[in-house]
């Protein structure tokens, strides 16, 4: 176990939580009206996408990781 693996695990687990929460909040807010709520919905969508990106980076699907020094 080195630091990079802990970081990745944290990113994956927390990424799942944040993505689920963001999309759930988006689902709950879907029918809200008003300018600020439309903006909030857009922001939540992007937030969820960002969490998924971080999750994928943690899984080493996207992004770059240097070879682990032993």
């Amino acid at each position: 176990m080195n630091a990079a693996i802990i970081e990745r695990l944290g990113a994956v687990i927390a990424g799942i939580v944040v993505a689920v929460v963001a999309f759930y909040a988006l689902y709950k807010d879907w029918n809200s009206t008003g300018v600020e709520n439309q903006v909030f919905k857009l922001m939540l969508l992007l937030l969820g996408i960002g969490a998924i990106l971080a999750l994928l980076a943690g899984l080493n699907v996207v992004g770059f990781a240097p070879p682990v020094k032993s």
Binding site: G15, L44, L53, A57
Partner: protein, 203 residues
């Protein structure tokens, strides 16, 4: 605490408040748009220089390691989610839950800033990548993330003021534009980081 002030207060919200709130909301959104243009300009500059035909990454610079940044990003995105629930709870009158979510947001924001400091420290002293000395990589990376970090710092200050004001009972269930604006700003800062994270670490 100031839970009493969260009783439904019909009559206190007058027409003047509704109209000025509308103006402030509109003005705040326009401010965010122009701030977004500021970031976009630097992002454009980064992408332009990156594609100007001298190869990427520039000589002497490693590609950035994504592991720590992924964790740090999730911290910031999580703070966006807690901020969202802070506002939701305030709207529905759960004052204490609002305060806890707000404090959690501040803690996560500070954690993100600490992570940024760790990352800078690692880059500058570990890999000798500096603002002025590493060509266009150092220029755009430190300028953009530094600007973003400054925005996060301002956001943390704003949220701290919100905590103090809420404890003093400034906001009521009818008049809470300050909290809405804070939420908008914090979401904005998060979303900017989605873009920065993608273009610096994933691209």
């Amino acid at each position: 605490m100031a839970v009493a002030s969260l009783a439904p207060d019909a009559g206190e919200v007058d027409q003047l408040y509704i109209e000025t709130r509308e103006l402030r909301l509109q003005g705040f959104l326009f401010f965010l748009i122009s701030d977004c243009v500021l970031f976009s300009s630097f992002i454009f500059a980064y992408l332009y220089m990156r594609n100007s035909g001298q190869g990427w990454p520039p000589p002497g610079v490693q590609r950035l390691d994504v592991a720590f940044a992924a964790w740090n990003s999730v911290v910031l995105f999580g703070s966006g989610a807690t901020m969202h629930y802070a506002l939701e709870n305030f709207k529905y009158g759960h004052f204490m839950r609002y305060m806890w979510f707000l404090l959690a947001t501040i803690v996560l924001g500070v954690m993100f800033l600490g992570g940024q400091a760790y990352e800078y420290n690692h880059l500058i002293f570990g890999e000798h990548v500096t603002w002025a000395g590493s060509g266009i990589f150092g220029a755009s990376f430190f300028t953009l993330t530094g600007m973003h970090g400054f925005h996060v710092f301002i956001g943390v200050c704003y949220l701290t003021v919100l905590v103090l004001q809420s404890a003093a009972g400034v906001y009521t269930r009818g008049k809470y534009f300050g909290i809405t604006a804070g939420t908008l700003y914090w979401h904005f800062v998060d979303v900017i980081w989605v873009v920065l994270f993608s273009i610096f670490y994933l691209l």
